[in-house]
Symmetry: C3
Subunit: 332 residues, 3 copies
């Protein structure tokens, strides 16, 4: 990914060699391109700045040509010297310190919003510059559509919803008070305290998605948070940054999906299911209401419990405990 | 129920015989009345269209006279032929497809809102046509009062609250960011995907109810969602469609009540209690914080745990497991 | 504490003797001062009215000189007769009935808000009289800053956030839809029903705090709700009245902290942790995601489970139950 110019802009291109000088660090190879944008290591485009915070032995392979990568200076990078590596003590910290200054959220687009004549936008709603509202879409009172946000046809944006850094498809229903595109919850140490990591991704809601009242869907860090076609999400749910929910999934009220989770097509999560960071839920899997999911769920399986396990195991344990604790009582 | 004309209106009356022709299906008996409204099967009024999605052997009895009911065509209805039955393959789907087109949310009332001179409405609030605000009621900044909403005396509507399709009593306190009357979470298959079922009910908050910040109370499908007198609901709670909460009940933060639940008078739910669809909680019952309730709780009992059971059983199991797992460890 | 005149004002000073006459009760000793404000018993200032609802044998000691205290009339107060005690049947009920009439939320300050010229306030935001917005602070669309609220420098107030009765430091980030300063959830009996206890405290967010989207932080009853420096709170969290969260703490999404809880510095609460009223969590403690905490956690410990216990105990019980329930099945 390179950052989406509808939402972010840089303070001009950076010369890789000059950046190395500015950071007082080595640049192992000079790319042909200036740095124009940023990306995550595994999805860097030519001209992107990225970072790799691991040890050199876990370096996953060749860097995208034309990209520049911040890496740890105390590692042996001789095998990758032909990549454009900038070596310093804290690549992650340096990356976000740099980007936080270099990249700004685009709050000052001069392009007036493009509202289709057949759209219906409440007088009290705010639609920002650079935004687009499609045919037949209804925007209710006090909705806030941020700069550059694109909304398709036949969608409904409920009252008091806020939508920033987002691309919204056709036939999407966002109920009142939902929050799309706020910063994700990412922290890193700095100055003896935790600081919030700046977020440069987007939220994408594909066609036919329903998002319930007072939900929150955070935008990605260096990627997108995506909800697939016709997925239905009940009230009070939370979807963390970089999470990808498949198509035709169902998430019942208070579903709390952490960051970088993958949820498959047709998956069904009962009410109040919590899912830990980086967990994968397979296609067609089901998770029982109230579960706390810390592990991956293979496709098609049904899990439940806290912590969640295959539902048969959970039920067996419940029945066994009930039976034996009662027996014990009788015999004592 | 017939739909409330303050919130919904139809595109004119339907002739039952003509509707049968339009749907290319049989009408077993022609009622005297045109179809003017809709209702659920068990609460249909004369002139209502309703549906019954079960098999003929579970048909619960006589249809309200003057009502028309969509039923499954592949069943034997000979015993009920004197009722006005419209037979087709998918009565539920046909009912909602029809109503979605035939009934519209009343967004265009021309009656200006009736705001009592002793009410206090913030300049930035929106009070829609057909709405009424009673004496001494305070409406705070950015509150949205939808078309036809009725609010009694001495109530407080917090900032950023949204209230649609609702009747609100006297002395009610709705804190900031609460969402009343959004669509409930109801899905049905259609076109190879799940589609949202349209909702035609209301939300009713009786006198003295308190509803906390960022709560959501969905309106009913073909009935009302009701919160009884002096019931107190903490922040971040969710009440699903068609649920009926009694009087003097207490629901602590994050209480998540699914659809069609019945909660008795004086019931007390601790924080973060989840209640599954169609569960009944008796008068004066208590449910411990954090419980996940899948079964009915008889009146006056105290339940707890996940899944919830009588609290004595839950505690016995906890103590037994603690004791035996520790003993086991010592002996191995 | 005396109430903060930026948020509340009284209908003038009360003469202690005259108040005793009005309440038809005894005043054991007349203080030199009129009653000018209110406080909790343990933090009363001279000139404050407070109440003590316990028995005389649990009276914790001398009343602040110049304060007046409502106590139970059916107790023996002879040992404390030199304190200014007002004796009546229901000191708590009398206190709040009196204060509810005597003290009003200051909605009518005539001082226009003080917005620093380098602050950026969206046109659609409402900043009330008596409020102050510091240099470099950004206030987004539809934010509501209530009367008297003070916000420091370099902070961000997200869209649709509401902030009342609050003091906000520098570098604070409040994401969209967060609710600060709403009434806490406090109930007392009155007229055969539960009534909401009026709240006279504040919310204080110290420098560097982040508060996520759609969170709620209730103001204190007769004290403040405080979030310490650089504490980071994820989306959808709730902090109850009078709760004090230390510095550098982390609370992940759906953290539900009840009233009068104390959370230490550097404590970390995983997602969806619920904490019961009056619980103390020590410095540097960790609580696993999904836990329901009913007891105090000593400093530096890690707890988990529902109900929460030391995490080693929880894990041992889980493993033991899994193993034995499986064995049982095989042998039966």
């Amino acid at each position: 990914m390179a950052i989406d110019p509808r939402f972010y802009h840089t303070e001009g291109a950076l010369d890789p060699a000059r950046l190395a000088g500015h950071l007082s660090c080595d640049l192992s190879a000079v790319p042909d391109l200036p740095i124009r944008s940023i990306g995550s290591f595994d999805a860097a485009s030519p001209g992107d700045l990225c970072f790799f915070d691991g040890k050199s032995k876990s370096w996953p392979g060749k860097l995208t040509e034309g990209a520049v990568c911040l890496v740890r200076q105390d590692e042996d990078w001789s095998a990758s010297e032909s990549d454009a590596l900038l070596k310093l003590s804290d690549p992650r910290g340096a990356f976000f310190a740099l980007t936080d200054n270099w990249i700004t959220e685009e709050h000052h687009s001069n392009t007036p919003p493009a509202i289709h004549p057949e759209a219906s936008v409440a007088e009290s709603a705010v639609v920002s510059n650079g935004a687009a509202i499609g045919e037949g879409t209804r925007v209710e009172p006090f909705a806030y559509i941020g700069p550059g946000v694109q909304i398709g046809k036949g969608s409904r944006i409920g009252s008091h919803a806020s939508i920033r850094f987002s691309l919204i498809g056709d036939g999407v229903r966002i109920l009142a008070g939902a929050r799309l595109g706020e910063d994700g919850f990412g922290l890193m140490p700095g100055d003896g305290r935790m600081i919030d990591i700046p977020h440069f991704g987007r939220v994408i809601l594909q066609d036919g998605v329903t998002l319930g009242a007072n939900c929150s869907v955070d935008r990605g860090l260096l990627a997108d948070t995506i909800i697939g076609e016709h997925t239905k999400i009940d009230n009070q749910c939370h979807i963390g940054h970089n999470t990808i929910v498949g198509r035709h999934a169902v998430i019942v009220a208070y579903g709390g999906i952490s960051g970088s989770v993958k949820i498959g097509d047709y998956a069904q999560l009962g009410g109040r299911v919590g899912v830990a960071d980086h967990v994968t839920i397979g296609d067609g899997s089901k998770v029982a209401a109230g579960s706390g999911l810390m592990k991956d769920v293979p496709a098609g399986e049904t899990w439940g419990g806290y912590p969640a396990r295959p539902v048969k195991d959970w039920h067996r344990e419940l029945i066994w405990t009930k039976k034996h604790s009662a027996r014990k009582k009788a015999s004592s």
